[in-house]
C-alpha cells in the first residue's frame, strides 16, 4: 500500500469514502482519520509542497510494518504543489481491531510524519513561494556532510 499523492488540494470526501469503504469490508473495530486543513494566517494565500517520493514510500512502508505488528494498517494521502487556504493537504488514518492501538498509532505516526517524511513546505504570499524554514525540522542524521572527518 503506497502513499497517495495528488496534485493540488485533496478531495477529502472521495478519499475518506474510499478508505471507509475499504475498512468496513475488513472487520476493523476502530477507524481514526486525521485531516490537515490549511489555515489562513500571516497573510498566506496557500501552502505549497515538494515531495521526494522514493524516500517517502520507504518511510511509509516502515511505518506500515510497525502498524502491522500491532494488528493495524495505515492510510495516507498528501498534496503536491499549491493548496489554497481552507482546503486539505494531508490525510492519514489508522484501522485497528481495537481503539487503543489506533489512538496511540495516529499520534506517533503523525508526529514522525512531521519530523521525517521528505516533504518541503512553502508559504504562498503575494504569489511568491517562500520556504517555511522556521517551521521545518532537520531529519535524523542531518549535518553529516558538514563534518570535517
Amino acid at each position: 500500500m503506497m502513499v497517495e499523492i495528488y496534485d493540488g488540494p485533496l478531495d477529502i470526501k472521495t478519499i475518506f469514502a474510499n478508505w471507509l469503504e475499504d475498512g468496513m469490508e475488513r472487520n476493523w473495530g476502530a477507524f481514526i482519520p486525521f485531516i490537515g486543513i490549511v489555515r489562513e494566517e500571516d497573510g498566506i494565500e496557500a501552502l505549497s509542497f515538494d515531495i521526494y517520493q522514493p524516500i517517502l514510500d520507504s518511510w511509509f512502508n516502515d511505518w506500515q510494518a510497525k502498524a502491522k505488528k500491532r494488528g493495524a494498517i495505515l492510510k495516507m494521502a498528501h498534496s503536491r504543489g499549491d493548496v489554497p487556504v481552507h482546503t486539505s493537504s494531508y490525510m492519514s488514518a489508522i484501522f485497528s481491531p481495537k481503539r487503543r492501538v489506533a489512538l496511540e498509532l495516529i499520534d506517533e505516526f503523525v508526529e514522525d510524519f512531521k519530523a521525517n517524511a521528505p516533504i518541503w513546505k512553502y508559504d504562498i504570499i503575494n504569489g511568491k513561494r517562500v520556504y517555511a524554514e522556521g517551521r521545518s525540522t532537520p531529519m535524523r542524521g542531518a549535518g553529516l556532510l558538514s563534518k570535517k572527518d
Binding site: D50, S58, H78, K114, G141, L144, L145, S146
Partner: protein, 73 residues
C-alpha cells in the same frame, strides 16, 4: 562518477563528481560557501536509503541526495 542531487528548497541542478566515500562528497561540497547553511541541516541518502556514516563507501553510478529540513502536512 556519482550524482549529487539537491532536494526541495536547495533548488540546485544535480552535479556529477568523482568520489569513493561520503567523506569525499563532504569535502567537495564544503568548498562551496553557498551550500554551507544547507550542509549543516541536511540529511543524506545514498540510492534513496538514509545514511548516517561519513565513511560510507560509494561506487560508480551512486546517487547522493541532500534532504533539507522537512515540514509535511
Amino acid at each position: 562518477m556519482v550524482k549529487i542531487e539537491f532536494l526541495g528548497p536547495i533548488a540546485r541542478a544535480s552535479i556529477d563528481i568523482e568520489a569513493s566515500s561520503l567523506k569525499d562528497v563532504a569535502l567537495y561540497l564544503q568548498q562551496d560557501s553557498e551550500l554551507t547553511i544547507w550542509l549543516d541541516k541536511s540529511a543524506i541518502a545514498v540510492n534513496d536509503i538514509m545514511v548516517c556514516d561519513l565513511n560510507h563507501t560509494l561506487k560508480d553510478g551512486d546517487k547522493i541526495s541532500l534532504l533539507p529540513p522537512v515540514c509535511g502536512g
